[in-house]
C-alpha cells in the first residue's frame, strides 16, 4: 500500500502513458487518436515532473534565507516540462489541423478506412 | 626431297586411280549381288570422261570454288595418311590435321551445293552434316582411344607401334574401337545403307542435284577419294598399315570388298534411323573402348 502511495506519481504517469498508447494503437477515430496522443504526452510530462519531485520539498526559489537546496524540488524537469508542453501543443495543433484537411479529402476520420498509401 | 615431291605428286594420282577402281568394283559387286552382269570395271572412268566432254552448268564462283576446295582437300589428306611406307607430310600435325582436313570435303560440297540454291541440295547437305555428326561421335571416340593408347597424335607412330607388336584390331583394348570402326565404316564411306545423303530417288541425289558435266566428274572423283581415304585410315589404324604398297593395296581391297558385300544387302536407312544406329551400338562399344584404354594406360 505504501508502495502505491509513495510511487503514486509514477503510477499515474505510467497509467496515463499506457492509456494514451492504447488509444493510439487501438482506436479508429483520428480525433480519439489525437486525444490519446494528448494523454500520452501528459503522462510523459507527469513522469518528468515526478522524476524531479521530492516529497515535501518546496518550490526551488530562494524566497527565504534559511532555505536549503536539498529540500527543494528539482527545477530542471519543470523547465523541461514547460518545453515539452509547448512542443505537445504544437503537435496537437498541427494534428488537429491535419485532421480537418483529412476529413475534407476522405469524408471520414476512420483510420482503418484511410489506407490509400500502403505496400 | 625429290622423293617427297615425287610422293606428293604420285600419291593423289594413285589415290584417284584406286578410288575409281573401287567405284567400279562397287558397281560390279552390287550388280553381281543383284544377279546382274553389271557394267565393266572401268565404267566410272567412262562416265567421268563423258562428263568432262559434256558442258557443265555453273551457278557462280562459289559453285566452282566449293568443288575445288573439296577436291583439293581430299587430295591433300592423302599426303597425311600413310600409304604403306609413304607418308610425305607426317610431321605436320598428325591425326588432328587429318580430322580437320576431312572437313574440307563435305564443306566444299556443301558450299557448292548451297550456291546451287536447290532445296534438294539443301536437304542433302543437311543430311550429310547430320550423318557426319552421327558417325563422328563413335569415330572420334575410336580415334581418341587409339591416339591415347599409343600416346601420340601422329598416325605414322601409330602404324609403327602396331608393326612392332600386333595389329590393333587384334590386340586387347583396341579391339573394341576396332569393332566399332567396322560397324561405322559404311557410314564413313557413305555407301549403303548410309547413302541417304545422295539418295537419288528421294532428293534427286541431294547436293549433286545441280552438278552436270565436269562438276559431276569432280564429284565422282571426290567420292572415289573418300572411299580410298576412309578405308586406308582404317587399315592404318587397325590393320597395322603395311610395309609395302602391294600389301597395303590388298588390305584395303579386302576391307572394301567385305564392307560392300555386307552392306549391299541392306536397304537405305532413314537419316534418323542411321543416326540412332550410329549413336547406339558403335558409340557404346567405342565409349567402352575409350574407358578401357584410359584405364589401361
Amino acid at each position: 500500500m505504501s508502495f502505491l502511495f509513495e510511487n503514486s506519481y509514477y503510477i499515474a504517469a505510467v497509467g496515463l502513458i499506457l492509456i494514451g498508447l492504447y488509444i493510439m494503437a487501438a482506436k479508429k477515430n483520428l480525433i480519439k487518436v489525437i486525444i490519446g496522443l494528448s494523454f500520452f504526452e501528459t503522462g510523459i510530462n507527469v513522469l518528468l515532473i515526478a522524476a524531479g519531485y521530492i516529497r515535501g520539498g518546496s518550490a526551488p526559489i530562494f524566497s527565504h534565507p534559511d532555505m536549503q537546496a536539498g529540500k527543494m524540488v528539482d527545477p530542471t524537469p519543470q523547465a523541461l516540462v514547460l518545453t515539452a508542453i509547448v512542443i505537445g501543443v504544437a503537435v496537437l495543433a498541427l494534428a488537429l489541423s491535419l485532421a480537418v484537411r483529412l476529413y475534407e479529402h476522405h469524408g471520414t476520420l476512420n483510420l482503418r478506412k484511410i489506407r490509400e498509401l500502403k505496400w | 626431297m625429290v622423293a617427297t615431291v615425287a610422293q606428293c605428286v604420285l600419291l593423289p594420282v594413285l589415290g584417284i586411280v584406286i578410288g575409281l577402281f573401287f567405284l567400279g568394283l562397287y558397281r560390279k559387286i552390287m550388280a553381281r549381288l543383284h544377279w546382274r552382269y553389271g557394267p565393266p570395271l572401268i565404267q566410272p572412268v567412262i562416265d567421268i570422261l563423258r562428263l568432262f566432254f559434256q558442258g557443265g552448268m555453273s551457278h557462280g564462283a562459289v559453285f566452282d570454288f566449293g568443288l575445288v576446295l573439296s577436291l583439293a582437300g581430299a587430295m591433300a589428306i592423302i599426303l597425311f595418311i600413310p600409304f604403306a611406307q609413304w607418308c610425305p607430310l607426317q610431321g605436320s600435325g598428325g591425326m588432328l590435321v587429318i580430322l580437320y582436313l576431312m572437313l574440307l570435303m563435305p564443306l566444299g560440297t556443301a558450299l557448292s551445293g548451297g550456291e546451287a540454291a536447290n532445296p534438294n541440295a539443301s536437304i542433302g547437305i543437311s543430311r550429310k552434316l547430320i550423318l557426319a555428326l552421327g558417325y563422328e561421335v563413335p569415330l572420334l571416340l575410336i580415334l581418341l582411344s587409339v591416339m591415347s593408347y599409343y600416346s601420340t597424335i601422329s598416325i605414322v607412330d601409330i602404324v609403327r607401334g602396331q608393326q612392332a607388336s600386333v595389329w590393333a584390331l587384334f590386340s586387347w583394348p583396341l579391339a573394341l574401337p576396332g569393332i566399332a570402326y567396322i560397324l561405322i565404316l559404311p557410314a564413313v564411306l557413305g555407301v549403303r545403307p548410309f547413302d541417304t545423303t545422295t539418295a537419288p530417288q528421294e532428293i534427286s541425289s541431294g547436293p549433286l542435284v545441280e552438278y552436270g558435266g565436269k562438276y559431276l566428274a569432280f564429284e565422282h572423283i571426290i567420292h572415289a577419294l573418300s572411299l580410298f581415304l576412309g578405308i586406308s585410315l582404317f587399315v592404318n589404324l587397325f590393320l597395322g598399315g603395311a610395309a609395302n604398297p602391294i600389301v597395303f593395296f590388298v588390305k584395303i581391297l579386302v576391307v572394301f570388298v567385305a564392307c560392300v558385300c555386307i552392306n549391299a544387302v541392306f536397304p537405305r536407312l532413314r537419316i534418323e534411323q542411321a543416326v540412332s544406329y550410329l549413336w547406339k551400338w558403335p558409340t557404346a562399344i567405342a565409349f567402352l573402348g575409350l574407358v578401357v584404354v584410359s584405364l589401361v594406360k
Binding site: - | 558397281r27 543383284h34 557394267p39 567412262i46 559434256q54 552448268m57 537419288p200 541425289s205
Partner: protein, 190 residues
C-alpha cells in the same frame, strides 16, 4: 559393240564416252515408263551398256519420252530438256510421242513431240518391249557414231521455231528463253 577398242577410244574419246555412258533422265512421262524397270533391273540389265537412270537432268545425257505427252507434261519435258547439258539425246518411246497414238484425237495430248523438242530417234510400239529399247540404243550409238544424233544442235539452230511452237501451244512459258531469240525471229519475219 566397240567399247573395248582402245584405238577408237584414243581417236574419238568424246564420242566413245558419250556412247557408252548414256545416263537416262528418270522421267516418267507416260505409261511407257512401265517398261523401263525391266530394262534396268536384273532381267535385262541395261547397266551392262553403261545405261543407268539418273535423278536429275543435269547429270544425264539421254532423255526418254516414255509414252503420251499431255500438255502439262510437255511443259515439264521442255524444261527438263533445256536443263540437260549438251550433248544430249532424246528418244521418243512408244507410238504416242510419234503421232499421238491412241490419243490421236485427245484435246489434251500432243501429237508430234518433234515439233516442240528435237527427237533423235523413235522406238515405236505400244508399248515397246525392253528388247526394242536396246535396239533403239544401238541405233542411237550408230547415230552418235555418225554425228547424226544432233538434236541438241538443231534445237539451238531453230530455237525460235521451237520456242514459237511451244509458246503457241502452252501460252507464255515461265522461264526465259534458253538461247537468244532476236535475230532468228527477224529472219522469219523477212
Amino acid at each position: 559393240m566397240d567399247r573395248n577398242k582402245i584405238g577408237k577410244w584414243l581417236k574419238q574419246p568424246a564420242k566413245m564416252a558419250n556412247k557408252y555412258s548414256l545416263n537416262a533422265v528418270y522421267f516418267c512421262t507416260g505409261c511407257g515408263i512401265i517398261e523401263i524397270p525391266p530394262v534396268i533391273t536384273a532381267r535385262w540389265d541395261a547397266e551392262r551398256f553403261g545405261i543407268i537412270p539418273v535423278a536429275t537432268p543435269r547429270q544425264g545425257n539421254l532423255f526418254m519420252i516414255t509414252g503420251y505427252v499431255s500438255l502439262k507434261t510437255l511443259r515439264a519435258i521442255i524444261r527438263t530438256y533445256e536443263q540437260m547439258p549438251d550433248p544430249k539425246y532424246t528418244v521418243g518411246f512408244g507410238s504416242c510421242p510419234i503421232n499421238g497414238g491412241m490419243y490421236w484425237d485427245s484435246y489434251n495430248t500432243i501429237k508430234h513431240l518433234d515439233r516442240y523438242i528435237p527427237v533423235d530417234g523413235w522406238i515405236a510400239g505400244c508399248m515397246p518391249r525392253p528388247e526394242a529399247v536396246f535396239i533403239g540404243v544401238t541405233h542411237l550409238w550408230t547415230l552418235i557414231e555418225k554425228d547424226m544424233a544432233n538434236g541438241y544442235l538443231r534445237y539451238r539452230e531453230h530455237y525460235d521455231q521451237y520456242r514459237g511452237n511451244q509458246e503457241k501451244l502452252l501460252g507464255k512459258l515461265d522461264w526465259p528463253p534458253l538461247y537468244a531469240t532476236g535475230i532468228a525471229q527477224k529472219e522469219i519475219a523477212a
